[in-house]
């Protein structure tokens, strides 16, 4: 577990000259914007592939400039501000949504120590003893953008969407925070670069699989992505919080959503997938894979993989109902996170007491699992009431069947159906079903049937 010489520690930060800080900041900004443009096309292409379509293929080589063209179009569009909007807050909201999304990326490590124009520096803008919490703080500030957008629009649907998103993001932030605690306990640090260093042997995604799963579910809720995209559920809320936004302000919300997606993917990479370290077969075969500028490639690949999962989820799962969603967050994710932390805490304490991992697994975890399995099997079955009445109840025969007995046939209109004439078309004759032409054509003048 001895860290490589190229692994940055906290002492390596805060010593960069000003021009280098500026360079890194500009790089992060450009990286995120390009990633957003890329992700939008990427998402459309992946979803198109999953649905056996072609996807965007007109603008630029292979359609890859589609999102750029869309972005330019969006920025040049006319801006409509609702008359009832609260102007200052209406202007502030997209900014508040976008800025934290970019800010969070400042603590994401791209790679080890490299030499930039002769200066040894880590490939990371900055790091803090509480680095991961900074990302967390940024995501909690990002909620403001959405909530205020909903409120300031002065319209009902955005308000409902904004309130929904506030409740949703706060709830899932708790689950997300709990999933991170296990990583902190295991790595003994909260700085992102040190967490990457600590994953030299095993990725935390494997070691702390439940944490990783909880994190993966929670960030989908946190970024308002399908199947948890309830704040902008089109079928219920038109567009949700950004219904009343147009032009560049809408583009900012779009940007923030995708930037958040990239950020949580990068954080998942950093915390659970070994950060910028080369994946298993490469790192064993090739010594130099973890030094120099190569790690940026591995990092980028892992982020892309996480983004693919986001798109995959969107292409596969239908949107959840709001109460099911809240149920899942509070009654499953949060308790599961707490139990897992308890388990990890006990594990850490036992290890510090001098028991080795095999002993703990054999005498602690194995009996516990057996106990859980036995209890689950012996637990009295209490099927829900709905399932029980399935068996003893019989569906009544469909009504209105054409036959005289009427039982079990598909409901069809009666044979002697007479459609009343439309009052607007008085000149017309009553429409009758041709099969029962008992009424003479000459008989009733129009409109007299009633």
């Amino acid at each position: 577990m001895t860290p490589l010489a190229t692994d940055p520690t906290l002492e390596n930060f805060g010593t960069d000259p000003f021009w280098l800080v500026l360079l890194k900041a500009v790089f992060i900004f450009v990286f995120l914007v390009v990633m957003v443009l890329f992700t939008i096309v990427y998402e459309r292409k992946v979803v198109a592939y999953m649905q056996a379509r072609v996807g965007p293929n007109r603008t630029g080589p292979g359609g890859w400039l589609q999102s750029l063209a869309d972005g330019i179009k969006l920025a040049l569009k006319e801006e409509v501000i609702p008359a009832l909007a609260d102007k200052p807050v209406y202007f502030l909201a997209p900014v508040l949504a976008t800025v934290p999304a970019f800010l969070a990326f400042s603590v994401i490590p791209f790679g080890p120590m490299v030499s930039i124009f002769g200066t040894q520096t880590p490939l990371q803008l900055t790091d803090l003893p509480v680095g991961v919490l900074v990302v967390f703080a940024c995501s909690s500030l990002g909620v403001y953008g959405i909530v205020l957008a909903g409120w300031a629009s002065g319209s009902t649907y955005p308000l409902l969407g904004g309130l929904r998103s506030a409740a949703q993001m706060i709830s899932y932030e708790i689950a997300m925070g709990l999933s991170l605690v296990a990583v902190f306990l295991y790595a003994n640090t909260m700085s992102t670069s040190a967490i990457v260093t600590a994953q030299q042997d095993t990725w935390y995604g494997l070691l702390l699989l439940p944490s990783f799963l909880i994190y993966a579910v929670a960030v989908v809720g946190e970024t308002n992505r399908a199947p948890f995209d309830l704040p902008e559920a089109e079928s219920e809320l038109v567009g949700g919080f950004h219904t009343e936004y147009s032009s560049l302000k809408f583009a900012l919300f779009f940007l923030a959503e995708y930037a958040n997606m990239v950020t949580v993917s990068a954080l998942a990479t950093t915390l659970f997938l070994g950060g910028w370290r080369a994946p298993f077969p490469i790192s064993t075969v090739w010594e130099g894979a973890n030094s120099g500028w190569w790690p940026m490639l591995w990092f980028f690949g892992k982020v892309l993989l996480c983004l693919f999962v986001f798109v995959w989820l969107r292409g596969t799962l239908p949107r959840l109902r709001y109460d099911q969603f809240m149920h899942f967050g509070w009654k499953f994710l949060v308790p599961a996170g707490l139990v897992w932390i308890l388990f990890i805490g006990a594990f850490s304490v036992l290890r510090e007491e001098g028991y080795d991992t095999r002993q703990i697994l054999l005498y602690g975890v194995l009996p516990l699992m057996v106990l859980i399995i036995v209890v689950t099997y012996l637990w009295p079955e209490n099927g829900s009431a709905d399932d029980e009445d399935d068996e003893d109840e019989e569906l009544p025969p469909a009504r209105g069947a054409r036959g005289t007995d009427g039982g079990g046939m598909f409901p069809v209109p009666p044979m002697d159906l007479v459609v009343p004439p439309s009052p607007r078309l008085r000149a017309q004759r009553p429409i009758t079903v041709p099969a029962t032409t008992e009424t003479d054509d000459t008989d009733p003048p129009a409109g007299e049937t009633r």
């Binding site: 009832l84 609260d86 502030l92 909690s140 500030l141 909530v147 319209s155 506030a166 009431a385 439309s422």
Partner: protein, 318 residues
């Protein structure tokens, strides 16, 4: 900022940050008090809290800074906003003084209190030497030191605080709890079964919203021109579109007890200046459509009462 080693005196960057963030924090504090709109007030408070969080960073307490932003700015103020938004967006302060002279008194006492507190703090801190957190942070870092203090020296206070929060949470749950018999709550499956077996398995007809009426109180019309009573919610009074072109035949409407006022509408009464289509949108048109029903005039709801609803986007007051 993390590796700042300035122990004895303020470094230049600290001073710069202080003079930038200090006024911002102060402006936020004043804005909180002076803003007329409750949401603006809360936002100014967020500004102050975020600046305080940044101050903690500068003072070499990054953990406190982040917690300040996550907990206060991120969670508590969002909940504040949540409640304020549900109150309604037009809930600005009224300028009417309910207690005579209270504004002057409040200003006077406020300034007095600020002077007393500020003077006291200034006097108390005047002779304190600047120590910095470098020594405290040295052994294991800021986070570990805070954890050690919290879980050893201040454990009792910490546990008491958590007990207080738990009590509050349990209290909130008890107050909002709804008592239900077992089996009283029907599941989605049961509901859908009941619906299929009922007399009407299909959804209720939607209201008849025409180009000249955006009110959901406009009932839908059946093919023969009669009113579909189920198309209007029980909670609103149906308002017939009194327009000759629509071919309404009020004489055909089934008389419903309690709604007879509505069905007595005649199309002829609407001809003339009362045509709702000729008026601009807004509460006035709501009144306009009701005018033909002379009998129900006194039962009308006050049109101004509707505009005060939360985010009433559809019916706005001029």
């Amino acid at each position: 900022m993390t590796t700042l080693a300035a122990a004895a005196e303020l470094s230049r960057s600290e001073t710069v940050v202080f003079w930038i963030l200090g006024p911002i924090a102060l402006a936020g504090a004043f804005g909180t008090v002076l803003a007329r709109n409750a949401i603006h007030s809360a936002l100014f408070l967020v500004m102050t809290m975020a600046s305080l969080g940044a101050f903690y960073f500068v003072l070499e307490a990054p953990f406190l800074g982040v917690v300040q932003i996550i907990v206060y700015t991120g969670a508590i103020m969002i909940l504040f906003l949540f409640v304020l938004m549900l109150v309604g967006r037009d809930a600005s302060d009224s300028i009417v003084e309910t207690l005579r002279g209270q504004r002057w008194a409040a200003t006077l006492f406020g300034i007095g209190f600020a002077a007393l507190a500020g003077g006291g703090i200034y006097r108390a801190l005047d002779e304190v030497a600047l120590v910095g957190l470098t020594g405290v942070n040295a052994n294991g870092g800021n986070v570990l030191r805070i954890a050690e203090l919290t879980f050893t020296k201040y454990l009792f206070a910490f546990e008491l605080t958590s007990a207080l929060l738990i009590t509050a949470a349990v209290g909130a749950m008890v107050l909002t709890h709804v008592e239900r018999e077992p089996g009283e709550r029907r599941g989605q499956r049961q509901l859908s079964k009941d619906r299929v077996r009922s007399a009407r398995p299909s959804p209720l007809p939607g209201p008849g919203v025409y180009a000249t009426h955006h009110s959901i109180a406009t009932p839908a019309l059946l093919p023969d021109g009669t009113v579909a009573q189920e198309s209007v919610s029980r909670l609103v009074e149906p308002v017939l579109p009194a327009e000759p072109g629509l071919g309404i035949r009020p004489e055909l409407e089934p008389a419903v007890p309690g709604r007879d006022r509505v069905v007595s509408t005649t199309t002829t009464a609407a001809d003339g200046p009362d045509l709702p289509g000729s008026q601009s949108g807004g509460p006035a048109s709501v009144t306009g459509t009701r005018e033909p029903r002379g009998a129900s005039q006194q039962r009308q709801t006050d049109p101004t009462a509707r505009t005060g609803s939360v985010g009433g986007g559809a019916e706005r007051s001029e």
